[in-house]
Symmetry: D5
Subunit: 164 residues, 10 copies
């Protein structure tokens, strides 16, 4: 049986309460985020973000989560209460990230940040790529030599600076 | 005449010496990174990274740079000498980035870092997406309402942790 | 003759090159930002932000700046070159700000940040107030006891988080 | 039923004890800060600030809070004891803020801080805008294209530096 | 001839430009801050603060400074230009202070800060002691055993938090 | 009944154990630090410092504390045990202080630190004002316009640097 | 009986849950990492890394761990559950390390980092030594004078930067 | 002609003065550290460390450096003067290192630091591996698939903690 | 009865588990470190270091500790288990130290660090004074005026840098 | 000719101006601090501290310095001017120190700080060892095996906390 992402005890204090509920159910049913995401009709990164308290859910999302995770009514009610407010994003992560996988993403920003800015400015003018009107996905490619490549796509609305 | 990315004087102390040479020539010829990149046969983000000292050049790259930037022989020699060593990456950027455009990329890592890890681990196992065996590009999309969207694609080799 | 805001030598290293040019001319003509702003048809905070390298100018802005600041052609050309690129925002300020006036604004975010979030979420849903599609102004009020009050208004587009 | 702001478990350790009591009652009655604020005759930002331990209450405020939140006598007594001292402000927030909504406010200070100072000095002389003799409010505007805009107004007494 | 406070070269980069002018003249005339302060009719701490760029001068102050420091007209004009803007306070000091004398003041805040708050709140209610509507002085006492004692007095207006 | 300073729950983890005991008793008896200080024959700031673990007590102090706080024998014994060791000062405070009142004191050191040093050196020579052989007090003044002013006096022994 | 490495209580909060289980069993059986490593057919550093949550286990590793540590079935099941996810590396260590032994390793990077880079670049070109496709070992040497020497070997795959 | 390690202009301010002299000569002669090291009879990492101001030279080392770098007498005298004092180590590197190659070494300490300590303690007892009585080397291995591997060996004297 | 050093509750989380056991027993028996040290035949600083988890014990030390502290067998067994591993040093102290007494030691390093280095290099050559092969002691002197002086002696083996 | 401590170029910006003058003369005369100290009748650590701007000089000290360093009158006058003010201590050192020799002293404070406090408190009561009424010296011992030991002695006046 393949390994799945689970709740990490070293993060316990910094994760929102729903993370405990959701990861416990995920581990019991042994589901991947891809499997859960299909049920919600959302991207698997968005679903993982829900688990980590970084994205909001609709009532339909909660229904789907409870269904795919095999939650009983009492558990579902608990989950609904835990997801009733607005997300507090970004609290979990210490920066710079110490986790090697996440550090690589941070390093990309550190090394290529000015290059991205230079190119984006020339393509779009003075402004930013939104991280709010934003979506992202992760894909797997295998080249002819059998090497795997991870492909991360980030798509954000371009917001020009207002003139005032 | 459209605006291009230029040398920013507030970064002067932290940029390698070739940045001065290259940005000055770029401004004089009023070229975009896209125009320069075509001459080198490389991606425009990679070319901007060369300007910021974050990527290495081949002798052919230097030839092409000198050609497209209209450098005279003496300038080209200076550039060759400035690009003779190995890049020292990452020195330019203060973290967290204060520049709003670059901060948005940092914020994506901060908010979605654990979600990326969870999904990448489930797709690839225990390992990291390399930021070295790595390429990236920036694209522009316009939706039917006329809104522009920036699309950043990052592609890195998957490196599993060695067992020892 | 009333006092005006001038170039501060302790910031010299962190200010973009146009700050030197603009503040020098401003001091010579002894103009307030309000006077300069009228000529540009922009808000005085935006104009001060141009001086500090935090906002972009159109060619018409540069024309107006040169006119109101009494710049000769050579000075105007120099200014045009200095303003030719895209702004690198945020580099000037050390955080937390040590300047008492600016610290008070920082303290407002520190003390009322969660309250703003709670109220904004209830009024608008899950999202952020943009600091890009954004304008701001400063006004002076005097109450019946002769006390002066500073009123800062910030107006930003509401951006809901995308569902993906 | 629309969503309301609730107690965020990731902040639990850093919030004062009354935050637990107040947010729990708010969630049970499903009230917005606007609804609660009406009962107290105070601004909704001030009321949210009370919940987060950033503002003081009068005995009448506590009465009104207990009434609108439907607290029984024992709960009200507990609340009175929890609110008996003087607020310790500012302890809750990590700076720079990681929460995207609050970061945008921080970014405004970072980008426009010097511009605000320059304009305020020219309008008022040498001094500061008080963050103590201070009030603030949040308003919602919708433009003709149906876009929502958040408007934050800050009003602080001008305090000139004493001569000594 | 007794020793006086002079310009410290290790601070050169962080001191405003007038500090160079003023300290040089002070050294040449070998005057104490007490002597200079008498001429201005201000407290010697305020005068030292002017030298360090932490306080504003009136035209009369500049006249008096030039007079007591024996400045020629050209020097006085230079000084006037250097003092024409609004002070940028707080930039000079690294915190925590490494200088032992200043560290002791910092330590007093660190050790007694909560005690001051507790006592001030009980004496005045919810608010702060202003550091803006503020004056301070330094006095010397000698006890019967011949020991010297430094006495620092700080006097700030009490600002109650606004209710809103 | 007027408000008194109480135990702040957001500091709970960083306060020494006696703080819990003492503040609880103080709240029950509803006493100000001034009232308690009279019983001990000490300054109210010193007494508040005892509550926050920043000052040492004699056996007579503990007697007086127990008496004025109306402690029973078992409580008094507990207090004696809690106060039996030597104080660990300075652990409570995060620097820079986020609490607005305490920040103002910190800001005074930040802005006037060098001025104090310059003046103290000229008055006393090379040395420091001790923060150990040190006392302090807080007073309230009301001017003719009815404004309140807080006056903090710090008195420390002057320690010249040893020659060796 | 010789001393072995045990669970350190000052790290308790920052270690993953399996660390508690594994170190407790190790202490009960009084085994060294070398003894445990033999049973797993892995290097002792890798095994210690498993204990600290820095390396992944196969099902066979867990079998071997349970066997050599003398775990009963219920303990083994608990361990399997604790090791079911993907490691979150790097969370345990505060940097710079305060522990003297670990600081020495950090100091080597601090002092020789640029020298390693210069030599590695000349030997391999532009790239990095992977810390992922990586193994390490610790050996003991005794010289003729009876002095002990620790020898750490690090072996990482060379990854050249991609050209794009 | 293969590329060699050269002086990096972004480090100019933080490198000791001999770094300028030595790297300039190295670039002119186009020598690798391996070639220079042979002439000195020292390891190439030690020689690179000399260039970066992290290791001491004997008079014979300086002779050999001058010889292999083809320095004239005046240059050699300059070098001798620059190398006359004792090294100030560690000043060059910002920690955490931003350079990707050096960060990987830092990450190894971060991830495996406790594992190294646990294993070293079990092998040697309570003590540290010296970074002073210490040598290191870098080797290149190529496996059967043509992949290159970097091998770093660190050898330090074991120092037991003194009993006192 | 004179006061002794006891367990400080503000450090509870950062002290190793044996600190709780040892300080509790010390308080019950009301012993000074000097009294305990005599029983162990070690220096009192070393014994205090054992209490704080900064030094290792032999089985004989544990015997002597148990004896002098009047521990019963069960307590002694608990202590033996708590002291079974290798010390993790340095975790307790936040740097810069906030405790005034300890800050003074830190300040000595800050002010005299370069002077110590300059003098030690001239006396011993290129190397360091070991903090591992190291002992220290504290003595009390009283001068003829009745003033007390603390004398701290540090003695460390000189380690020359290896040539490689 | 034995090596002496010289001016380190990586510290140039942070050293006071007299450091340049003094170290240059010291290098020219090739004198150790011990030799210079004899001429001043002061301890060599104090003399090195003068060179680094950490200690004050009397006119006699300056005379002696000029004499032993063989300064001409013009150089001596320059030195007198550079030493005319009061020292600004502590600015030179970055903490934590990166220099290995100085880090060892820092590590001693980090590891033994609480032990020193515990023992000093028991020997002297509640107070501190002054770093101002303070002297220090460095001695060399050679044991029977020919190993060198550095002995640092610190002697500071004991200052009891005032009761107020």
């Amino acid at each position: 049986m393949s390994r799945i992402s689970t709740f990490d005890s070293t993060l316990a204090d910094r994760l929102p309460i729903q993370a405990h509920t959701l990861f416990e159910a995920k581990a019991k049913k042994h589901l991947t985020f891809e499997q859960i995401a299909k049920e919600l009709g959302r991207n698997e990164v968005a679903v993982a973000a829900i688990f980590y308290g970084q994205a909001q859910t609709t009532p339909e999302d909660v229904e789907a989560l409870a269904r795919v995770l095999g939650m009983e009514n009492s558990e579902k009610s608990k989950l609904e209460a835990q997801l009733a407010g607005y997300p507090f994003r970004g609290q979990t992560m210490d920066m710079p990230p110490k986790e090697p996988l996440i550090y690589r993403l941070y390093e990309i920003v550190q090394n290529y940040g000015y290059a991205y800015k230079a190119v984006l400015n020339e393509k779009f003018g003075d402004g930013i790529m939104s991280a709010i009107s934003f979506s992202t996905k992760v894909e797997k490619e295998t080249d002819q030599d059998g090497n795997n490549w991870a492909v991360i796509t980030m798509r954000g609305k371009w917001l020009p600076f207002s003139r005032f």
